[in-house]
C-alpha cells in the first residue's frame, strides 16, 4: 500500500509546503490568520449594517463559515497545481502521483486547523455556547478533509490536460461562496429552493461546524450520514478520475 510505504515522503512534502508558504513573507503565519479576520470584519459591517441581517452571534457565524470555506477554496486551488508544479517528480522518477495531491491537501488542512485554533479564544470572547459537543468538531473536519481531497484529486488531474482550469475554477469558487451559507443566514433562502440548497455538502458542513462551535448543539444523525456519504463519493470519484488520467501525466507535463 503506497500510503504506508511512502508515509515519510508524504509527511516530508507536507512540511516542506508549509515551510515555504510561511517563510515567504515576514509576517508569514500571522498573515494567514489575519486574512480571515479582516474578511470577517468587512463582511460583518457590510452585512449587519447595510443589509441588516439579524443572526445570532453574527460575527462568529461569518468567521466559522469563512475559515471552513477557505480550506475548500485554498485547498483545491493549491492542490490543482501540485502535479504540474513539480514536473521532475512526475517525469524523472516514479512515485505514486496521488502523493503530490495528498501532501498539498494535508498542508492546507494543517493551515486550516491552525486557523480554527485561533478561533477558540474568540469563541469565548464573543460568548459562544460552549458545550461538550465541541469535541465532535475534529471528526467533522476530518470528514471535510476527505471531501476536499477527493475534489483536489479531480482538479489536479484535469489541470494537466486543461491549463485554463485555474480561471474556470476561480469562477466556480466564487459561485460556491455565494451558494453556501457563509455570509447570510440559511433562513434567507426561499422555501421552494431549500431542498436543493441543502444538497450542497459544504452547506451541511458549515452548519454542522456552527452547531458544534457556536450554538453547542449535538450532531444531527442525518447531516453526519450525508457528510460521510459525500466524502465517500468524492474519494471514489476522485481516485477513479485520477487513476484514469494519471497514465499520460508523464507525456503531458
Amino acid at each position: 500500500m503506497w500510503l504506508m510505504q511512502y508515509r515519510d515522503l508524504i509527511w516530508n512534502l507536507t512540511i516542506t509546503d508549509l515551510k515555504i508558504k510561511y517563510q515567504s513573507s515576514v509576517l508569514g503565519f500571522a498573515w494567514s490568520l489575519l486574512n480571515p479576520l479582516f474578511m470577517m470584519l468587512v463582511l460583518y459591517f457590510v452585512f449587519s449594517n447595510v443589509f441588516r441581517f439579524t443572526q445570532e452571534h453574527y460575527a462568529l457565524y461569518i468567521l466559522v463559515g469563512l475559515i471552513a470555506w477557505r480550506f475548500l477554496a485554498n485547498g483545491t486551488s493549491v492542490a490543482m497545481m501540485s502535479i504540474v508544479g513539480k514536473p521532475s517528480l512526475v517525469t524523472k522518477i516514479y512515485i505514486p502521483r496521488q502523493i503530490l495531491v495528498l501532501s498539498s491537501t494535508l498542508s492546507s488542512f494543517i493551515s486550516s486547523i491552525l486557523e480554527f485554533c485561533v478561533l477558540i479564544p474568540l469563541l469565548f470572547i464573543f460568548g459562544a455556547n460552549i458545550t461538550p459537543y465541541v469535541l465532535f468538531f475534529p471528526i467533522a473536519h476530518v470528514i471535510f478533509f476527505f471531501i476536499v481531497y477527493g475534489l483536489s484529486l479531480m482538479v489536479a488531474a484535469m489541470y494537466v490536460y486543461y491549463r485554463d482550469l485555474t480561471q474556470i475554477w476561480e469562477v466556480v469558487i466564487q459561485i460556491g461562496f455565494f451558494l453556501s451559507p457563509i455570509v447570510y443566514p440559511i433562513s434567507m433562502i426561499p422555501a421552494q429552493y431549500l431542498p436543493f440548497y441543502v444538497l450542497n455538502p459544504v452547506t451541511i458542513i458549515i452548519e454542522t461546524y456552527r452547531n458544534f462551535l457556536i450554538f453547542g448543539l449535538p450532531p444531527g444523525l442525518k447531516s453526519m450520514v450525508y457528510l460521510v456519504i459525500s466524502a465517500v463519493i468524492m474519494m471514489v470519484a476522485g481516485n477513479a478520475l485520477f487513476n484514469r488520467l494519471e497514465r499520460r501525466f508523464g507525456e503531458l507535463i
Binding site: 515519510d8 516530508n12 516542506t16 517525469t91 524523472k92 522518477i93 516514479y94 497514465r247
Partner: protein, 259 residues
C-alpha cells in the same frame, strides 16, 4: 488491461533475470494543433475541425533481458527512443503494449536532484530527496553523515540550496542518490558530475556498486564509458532494436549507422 501494467516484484534471486522486457511498444500522439485548454477544445468543436494527429512510434516491439549483476548498455543516435525506454523502465511512462518485469528495488537516475527545493537547507534537501528516492527517515538519518562526507559539504549543511553552486548541488544530489542501495540502477548519462576528483570518486563508487553484484542499465553517448563498463548492449534506432549482444560488436554497428 492488467497484462500491460508495469510490475514490480520483490527481489527474487532464484529468477536469474533482473529485467525482462517483452514486446514493448510505445506510441506518442503528436497533435497537429496541441489543445491544452477547455477554451481550445470548445473552439475546436464549434469550428468543426477534427482532431488530427500523427502517430510517432517511439518504441516498437522491444524485447530483451538483463541478468542480475550485469551492466547493460543502451546506445543509439539522438531521438532513437533510449530515454523513452528508460522512462518506461522507471515507471514514469506507461507502455501501450508489452510487459516489463523488474526483480528488485529500482533506483532511476534519469536526473540527479529530483525534487531539490532551493528554499530549503542542504540538510532538509537530503531528507526530502532521500524520501523521494524511497528511503525512510531512519535510513537517511543513519547515512546522513556519510552523505555529507562524500559530497564534501559538511560545512554547508545549514545553508540554503539556492546559495549553492551548481557543482555543489550536483555533488549533494549524487551523494544522496547513491545511498539508496538499489538492486537495479538506471543511469541516463549523469556520471559526469563535478570536477575531476569528484568524477573519480563517482567512478569508484559505481565500480563498488557493480562489484556488489548490482544490475546497472546505462544509457550513454560516451562509447568509451560504455565499452569500459558494459558486458552487453543493445542498439536502438528508430524505436527498434537493430543490434544486441557483445558491447564491441554493437558499438561497431553504431558507428556504421552514424556514417
Amino acid at each position: 488491461m492488467a497484462n500491460n501494467r508495469y510490475t514490480l516484484k520483490k527481489k527474487n534471486l532464484d529468477n536469474t533475470n533482473a529485467i525482462e522486457v517483452d514486446h514493448l511498444s510505445k506510441q506518442f500522439r503528436i497533435p497537429h494543433e496541441r489543445k491544452i485548454t477547455v477554451y481550445q477544445h470548445l473552439a475546436g468543436l464549434i469550428s468543426g475541425g477534427s482532431y488530427s494527429y500523427e502517430v510517432f512510434n517511439a518504441l516498437q516491439d522491444i524485447s530483451f533481458t538483463v541478468e542480475h549483476g550485469e551492466t547493460f548498455g543502451v546506445i543509439g543516435p539522438n531521438g532513437s527512443g533510449k530515454s523513452t525506454l528508460l522512462k518506461i523502465l522507471a515507471g514514469v511512462l506507461y507502455p501501450d503494449s508489452g510487459t516489463v518485469h523488474l526483480n528488485g528495488k529500482i533506483a532511476p537516475f534519469l536526473e540527479l536532484g529530483v525534487g531539490f527545493t532551493p528554499d530549503l537547507t542542504a540538510k532538509e534537501n537530503i531528507y526530502l530527496y532521500g524520501a523521494i528516492m524511497g528511503l525512510s527517515k531512519k535510513e537517511i538519518a543513519s547515512k546522513y553523515d556519510e552523505i555529507l562526507d562524500f559530497a564534501e559539504l559538511k560545512r554547508f549543511e545549514n545553508m540554503k540550496l539556492k546559495n549553492f553552486s551548481s557543482g555543489m548541488t550536483v555533488r549533494l544530489a549524487f551523494s544522496t542518490a547513491i545511498q539508496t542501495d538499489p538492486d537495479i540502477l538506471l543511469v541516463d548519462e549523469v556520471l559526469a558530475v563535478g570536477d575531476e576528483s569528484f568524477q573519480r570518486k563517482c567512478g569508484e563508487k559505481i565500480d563498488e556498486i557493480r562489484e556488489a553484484g548490482k544490475t546497472i542499465i546505462l544509457v550513454s553517448h560516451a562509447m568509451g564509458t560504455v565499452q569500459e563498463l558494459c558486458e552487453r548492449c543493445i542498439l536502438i534506432h528508430g524505436g527498434k532494436i537493430i543490434e544486441s549482444g557483445e558491447t564491441e560488436k554493437v558499438i561497431e554497428r553504431y558507428h556504421d549507422i552514424l556514417r
